[in-house]
């Protein structure tokens, strides 16, 4: 049987629409994923749910919109035709089914022959069956003649036709099967994905960057307050007050006020140690529920005496400039004791006072 062939361009499907659909799919996917990620970062639950729902609704709409086309295509059986292999080339693969690029002349019974190029997986064991000039049976959807697939197990009547047929080559070049479903569509989809994600990030950039700032400034403690002059930080184990520049705990009444502010809402008899430096106050608390004998009552300390004691320690114990000082109050020896150490160019001097702020011991620098 000889079938006369002639070339004719077969119809193709709408490329711009396919590209637009790819771009939209990429855009919606990018926007949804970005919305979920931004929602997680900014702890914005409605944004997370909205992102997930957007993708779900888009998939649903695409599915419903495609129903009539799929039903129309499914209702029509694929067309079968004889075809001749012009050339074939294995294009790689490590599995038993390797992708093979075919160039075929397809000869439909009721239409002119045409050339088409496509790739289909062929099993290695079956590869010797496919040789140039060999006759095959192919199938394609009636409205998409370029979407050709080789029928590997034709029915007996088509098997007979293929065995006895002789075909002439149609003039080339071969048209690629679905070129726009390849590289171009992927690129456009990726572009849409990037744009969709960028749009969401831009819309919520203010929340994102605010979140970053507050995250870096937030300490890992139970409470924190900041005023223009000092920063107070309190946890169950300790409390600190840091003064701003130009201020000192030796200023009149400041130490007492700072301890009172720091101890608000805290058991004032739970303190173990109070350490005061020029601009830093630290109170260490005993663990809740313990009964340590060395606890201090914060209300009982002689805060008003501290500036005078520090002044005495820095001026009378032979320590030269520059000087730093530190006061430590505790009850480690049973009675309340205040120890002031002053360090300067001549070394370190100590001054000890009792719970009323009365000096009980002096250790000059170098002594």
């Amino acid at each position: 049987m000889t079938i006369t062939t002639s070339a004719a361009p077969p119809p193709t499907h709408n490329r711009p629409v396919a590209l637009a659909r790819g771009f939209l799919t990429g855009g919606v996917t990018g926007a949804s994923l970005a919305a979920v990620v931004v929602g997680i970062v900014t702890e914005n639950e409605p944004l997370i749910v909205g992102g997930a729902c957007l993708l779900a609704v888009y998939v649903l709409i695409r599915h419903l919109a495609g129903l009539p086309r799929r039903a129309r295509e499914a209702a029509v059986p694929p067309h079968l035709a004889l075809a001749m292999i012009e050339s074939l080339e294995a294009v790689g693969g490590e599995t038993s089914d390797i992708p093979v690029k075919f160039d075929l002349t397809v000869a439909p019974d009721d239409a002119p022959a045409y050339r088409v190029e496509f790739t289909q997986d062929i099993n290695l064991a079956d590869l010797p069956d496919y040789r140039p000039r060999g006759i095959l049976v192919v199938q394609y959807p009636p409205d998409r003649p370029l979407k050709v697939r080789i029928v590997k197990r034709p029915t007996p009547d088509w098997e007979e036709r293929a065995a006895s047929a002789r075909l002439d080559s149609a003039p080339g070049p071969a048209r690629a099967s679905d070129p726009w479903e390849g590289c171009g569509a992927t690129l456009v989809g990726f572009l849409g994905l990037l744009l969709g994600a960028a749009l969401v990030v831009l819309l919520f950039r203010a929340n994102l960057f605010d979140q970053d700032d507050s995250d870096t400034a937030r300490p890992s403690v139970s409470s924190s307050s900041t005023s223009s002059s000092s920063t107070t930080t309190v946890s169950s184990a300790s409390g600190t007050v840091a003064l701003g520049p130009g201020q000192s705990f030796l200023d009149e009444g400041r130490l007492g006020r700072s301890v009172a502010a720091l101890a608000t809402g805290v058991d004032k008899q739970r303190a173990l140690t109070v350490v005061v430096q020029e601009r830093l106050l630290t109170v260490v608390f005993a663990p809740t529920g313990t009964q340590a004998a060395s606890r201090l009552d914060l209300d009982s300390l002689p805060y008003d005496r501290v500036p005078a004691l520090v002044k005495e320690a820095t001026t009378t114990l032979g320590v030269g400039s520059p000087r730093t000082w530190q006061l430590t109050a505790d009850r480690l020896t049973g009675a309340v004791a205040l120890r002031i150490s002053v360090t300067g160019s001549e070394g370190t001097a100590y001054l000890e006072a009792d719970g009323q702020g009365k000096v009980v011991r002096r250790v000059p620098a170098g002594g």
Partner: protein, 287 residues
């Protein structure tokens, strides 16, 4: 948002899905209800080529008749055509189903059973609603509700089906005793090589193909998925095949091993039901 708002959304979406599914089933509009079921007959069996792929099943030519129009169709089993045909002989009856009016979209089934009411997805949606309720109950009121909520219905279902399962396994063990032994031969070993996308390892799956002739003259070609110790070198190997006289698709190489396997399966079934029931009881006690 509060988790109860999510629960309402969850139950709303999947509840609506379930309702739509049950409504479609009542109206006779589910895919299973609109499927035409015919009985096909294998007209020709091609011997598999040594080294080819087992994925498409044994190459057969099947004829069937559309029940409504009476039109005859002759088809082959290429590509995605439902269940893989792994046992074939000329004259074997095989299930063919397709959407109404679209016989070209046929699928094969190895069993000639009815299709049911198509409630699979609706039941799955209802299960998701139930799982959501149990999960929130377990978070709100404690883990015993999870044990009770999931273990309880599962245990009841297992207990309900247990007698039937035991009867089925006993029937299969009886069937083994009635099997007929004939000689068979491995005519080809099919090979499928895949590459793991995660680690790049190559996985090779070997499938020996045996042929044997039944006492009443049927020439059976079948994939032999287990029972051959060294499949790679098994081509040409002569074997003893035990098959069920009323259905040669049921065949084994080692009757004793198969009997032990079915007995073990029965024990696993009973133990599984007991474990799930125990979990449900622990849940009730811990409430």
């Amino acid at each position: 948002m509060d988790r109860h708002v999510y629960l309402v959304l969850w139950c709303g979406v999947f509840g609506a899905w379930a309702l739509v599914g049950y409504g479609r089933s009542l109206a006779g509009m589910t895919r299973a209800q609109r499927t035409v079921r015919a009985t096909g007959r294998i007209e020709r069996v091609d011997e598999p080529r040594h080294g080819s792929s087992p994925s498409d099943g044994i190459a057969v030519v099947v004829s069937f008749q559309d029940p409504s129009s009476g039109q005859e169709f002759t088809v082959t089993n290429e590509g995605d055509r439902g269940e893989r045909i792994s046992v074939a002989w000329t004259g074997r009856e095989i299930g063919v189903h397709y959407p109404r009016g679209r016989p070209h979209a046929f699928r094969f089934t190895n069993h000639l059973s009815e299709g049911g009411r198509g409630l699979g997805w609706a039941n799955f949606a209802l299960f998701l609603v139930y799982a959501g309720l149990v999960a929130v109950a377990a978070i709100d009121w404690g883990w015993p509700w999870a044990l009770l909520g999931f273990g309880g219905p599962w245990a009841l279902s297992g207990l309900y089906h247990l007698p039937g399962n035991i009867r089925d396994r006993n029937r299969r063990i009886d069937q083994l005793a009635a099997m007929v032994a004939v000689s068979g031969r491995v005519v080809a070993v099919l090979k499928s090589v895949t590459v793991d996308s995660n680690d790049g390892h190559t996985l090779t799956n070997l499938m020996p193909v045996v042929t044997f002739t039944t006492l009443d003259g049927r020439e059976v070609t079948a994939y032999c998925e287990s029972g051959i110790p060294d499949p790679a070198r098994s081509r040409g190997l002569n074997l003893t095949i035990h098959y069920a006289p009323d259905d040669p698709a049921l065949f084994v190489l080692d009757v004793e091993a198969e009997r032990r396997s079915w007995k073990r399966d029965m024990v696993v079934n009973v133990v599984g039901v007991l474990v799930v029931a125990a979990a449900a009881v622990v849940g009730v006690v811990a409430l």
